[in-house]
Symmetry: C2
Subunit: 296 residues, 2 copies
DNA sequence: TAAAAATACTCCATAGGTATTTTAT
DNA sequence: ATAAAATACCTATGGAGTATTTTTA
């Protein structure tokens, strides 16, 4: 059986007339009769009752007509879908987000993706550290990482999309919160709330380095998520230095102040080389979105 | 595009090897390469990445593989289904049941149909009078009638399956209920509960005729359904004569007694000539069921 | 260099065309 | 008598085969 048989049968069933159906199919009537007959022979079932005056569907023909139509539309759909996938307009993409950017990026990106690539299913996974994302990219668990460089692996494609300044997070009643700006040196003696150490959080390493440059080694308390970090500060358990985009996360009792020093941290998109069409489209869209997006 | 393209592509995708796939398809390797290439050209999409060492699916190929497999199984299913319909093992049949037989036949027939023709969807419609069923048969609203003859239309096929005796339905406290048997003449003076008149209920006509033969014209109260009829008798609103199969319907306060007279009524199967295969199968099954079934 | 896909070509099976017959109204 | 499907026969497209080349690991 071939799709030709189904197309021909559907045409005859719809026209109830071999001659008109043949015309519609742009073939002559005899080969149409033959093909339909061939189909019936293969099925072992009579689909049509024909006299010279009337062509009618048998009950089996009625049923087969439904199924044949369904198959033909599914074939069309399959072709259209394959084209969409090839053009990167349909598919699934897993995206990792660095902790400090999760609260700004998660809503921004999911909105942008829904608007720009509606048939792409995006799986956004937040609060992932740079080395975690690197491993997941290489393992194929995520297709795109939005993270804080540097990335160790040489094969991955890295593209920096933002450069942010660090800002201080202070409890609202804190004496330093009275000033317009805060100097890193002012934080000597304070407890610093930070991300997990062991060299896994790029932001944490940068903060510790900034303190060392200002002449002190900070006492630190470690938390796993950005929201916990700001909550800890709000609770008066310490102060923190975070990328400015964290300011999108507002928690009562915590306030942000710019630093006197110019301490900067990058945000980069990372993906495997030769990305699939969907991933390429998503990378391009995310890149555009993050560059257009005004971020304080 | 033809099913051949789908079959070939699925084979290559499953083997990841043109040579082995060709072997499986019992064709040579070059035409297989050509057909797959042709498919890709028609879709405008690359489905496979091939080097001489490795054949792999592209994302679009992955998606198209799912769809192609689905289409191929649907084609198989469509063929199998058409054969079932042609053999009368699959389909939908609407069956009308006469009021007096509804309560016995509805459960019996639906059980028999589910056991004997599990893929046939039967629509059992009870409490239909003979002329109603006749009209519905001719209009194609039902395919089989289980009714009380006679049938007026000459073209319909009628086959009598049972001959039942009429029995009396009496309120439990009624004086006549004291006797083993009841004579029709004893009912003179009683109110008779019966089915709608105007010559539409065959059982009703038979009852009135029996009374006339016994020398009286009964006073009647009319109800639409058999369950209502027996309930009316139980409530002491009158007595009734019904086919013996109604005795399957037991309602507190009403009791059945055989008649002294031998008043009989037939039960027949009626369908249009040249029934479709399903209808023919259902008719045969129903006929067997009603003849096997012991009915008091 | 060896395994496998692509290319080049050849052939024949069969889809499709033309002419005619059959059939049912 | 006529419209329409079936049959008979022919043609030619293209699917499949054979031989060979190309490619890459």
């Amino acid at each position: 059986m071939e799709l030709r048989h189904l197309r021909y049968f559907v045409a005859v069933a719809e026209e109830c007339h071999f001659g008109r159906a043949a015309e519609r199919l742009h073939i002559a009537q005899p080969p149409l009769s033959q093909q339909v007959k061939q189909l019936e022979a293969e099925l072992g079932v009579q689909l049509l009752t024909r006299t010279t005056r009337r062509v009618e569907l048998t009950p089996a023909g009625e049923r087969f007509l439904e199924r044949a139509r369904d198959v033909l539309t599914r074939v069309e759909d399959a072709a259209a879908e394959a084209r969409l996938v090839a053009d990167g307009l349909d598919g699934r993409v897993a995206i990792g987000l660095t902790g400090s950017a999760t609260y700004e990026l998660l809503p921004t990106l999911s909105r942008a993706l829904r608007a720009g690539l509606p048939d792409v299913e995006a799986d956004l996974r937040g609060e992932l550290l740079t080395p975690e994302q690197e491993a997941m990219l290489l393992a194929g668990e995520i297709d795109l990482g939005v993270l804080r460089p540097p990335v160790v692996d040489e094969t991955l494609v890295v593209r920096t999309v933002r450069r942010e300044r660090l800002v201080a997070v202070l409890p609202e009643g804190h004496p330093l919160a009275a000033a317009e700006r805060v100097s890193v040196a002012d934080l000597a003696g304070e407890t610093l709330v930070g991300y997990p150490a062991h060299g896994r959080s790029v932001v944490h390493l940068l903060v510790v380095e900034a303190c060392r440059a200002a002449g002190f080694v900070p006492r630190t308390v470690e938390v796993g998520e950005t929201s916990t970090l700001v909550s800890f500060v709000a609770a008066g358990l310490g102060v923190a230095l975070v990328p400015e985009s964290v300011q999108h996360l507002r928690i009562t009792g915590a306030t942000y102040r710019p630093l006197v020093e110019d301490v900067r941290v990058d945000l980069a998109l990372v993906h495997r080389p030769d990305p699939s069409p969907v991933v390429a489209n998503v990378v391009a869209l995310v890149e555009r979105t993050l560059q257009d997006e005004p971020h304080d």
